[in-house]
Symmetry: C2
Subunit: 137 residues, 2 copies
DNA sequence: ACAAAGTGTTACACTTACCGTAACAATTAT
DNA sequence: ATAATTGTTACGGTAAGTGTAACACTTTGT
């Protein structure tokens, strides 16, 4: 799954939990968002480590939101499921020539990509789960 | 090669052509930017179709810039080498549920990604090959 | 105590994508 | 003719992604 697909899938699962407003097991959630239950558990496990959802084992177990929807924004969801920077962009730094031109160009692009990533992160920080739910209800 | 790597590699090749200011064959350019000559020819071939470089076969053939460096900006380089939108972001649209929530969330993300792409394109349009060369010389 | 229902994680076969290189037709100057 | 070059295709090898199953561990109900 690409980063962007992971993000939208996670938001679907979280929206489902917010709307249902009671613990749901991975099978139900997976059926709702349309992916495999095992795969979904991997995603939700990461969201759990980030304190976004909480999970309980056992017969009455399942997943539920650990915070209110207006306290969850896209940026933290993204960080929870992806270790790399937002929508990672990279350059080819193999075979760098000794003259340094390639290295300088790499740095120029790394700076450009950093700027883009900051903008993306700002945008994602401003969007909460609640604002998304409000749009789909 | 990722989109971003393609872009930086292309800019390296174009910068080399701009600085040398005479036709260069793929072997020389490839050695300068540190990639395979055949692979580079694929990139330059696409840049040629976009009118950014011109190429000549034969013994005295090679590649040279078709426009001045201040008339070439990153956005057109990107469009030349990549058919998809800038730094393509996508959602999972398989197994869409009948309730429509997944579809609505997909649309929300597609809109968000479109906004991000517009910002990236604006940024890339404002950066010319000349401005990059000025920084590396 | 024991069974049932969960999560969290690992493993694995399968497919897909990617990479680097080679090869070759077409083209052009000498 | 010959040599050098582009543009494109093909291909074997390798890496990455996918979907599923499996299983240990935890928790609840009886």
């Amino acid at each position: 799954m690409s980063s962007s697909t992971k993000l939208s899938t996670s938001v679907k699962a979280l929206s489902y939990l917010a709307i249902e407003d009671k613990p749901k097991n991975s099978t139900e959630i997976a059926a709702s968002v349309g992916i495999n239950a095992s795969k979904l558990r991997k995603l939700l496990s990461m969201l759990g480590k980030a304190g976004i959802v909480k999970s309980d084992s056992g017969m009455l177990g399942g997943f539920s939101l650990a915070k209110k929807p207006n306290q969850i924004h896209l940026q933290e969801i993204y960080c929870a499921i992806e270790d790399r920077k937002a929508f990672y962009l990279n350059v080819n730094d193999t075979n760098l020539k000794q003259n340094g031109a390639s290295e300088k160009i790499n740095n120029i692009f790394l700076n450009l990509f950093s700027e883009i990533q900051v903008e993306i992160e700002n945008k994602m920080t401003s969007i909460t789960l609640k604002s998304i739910i409000d749009k789909i209800i």
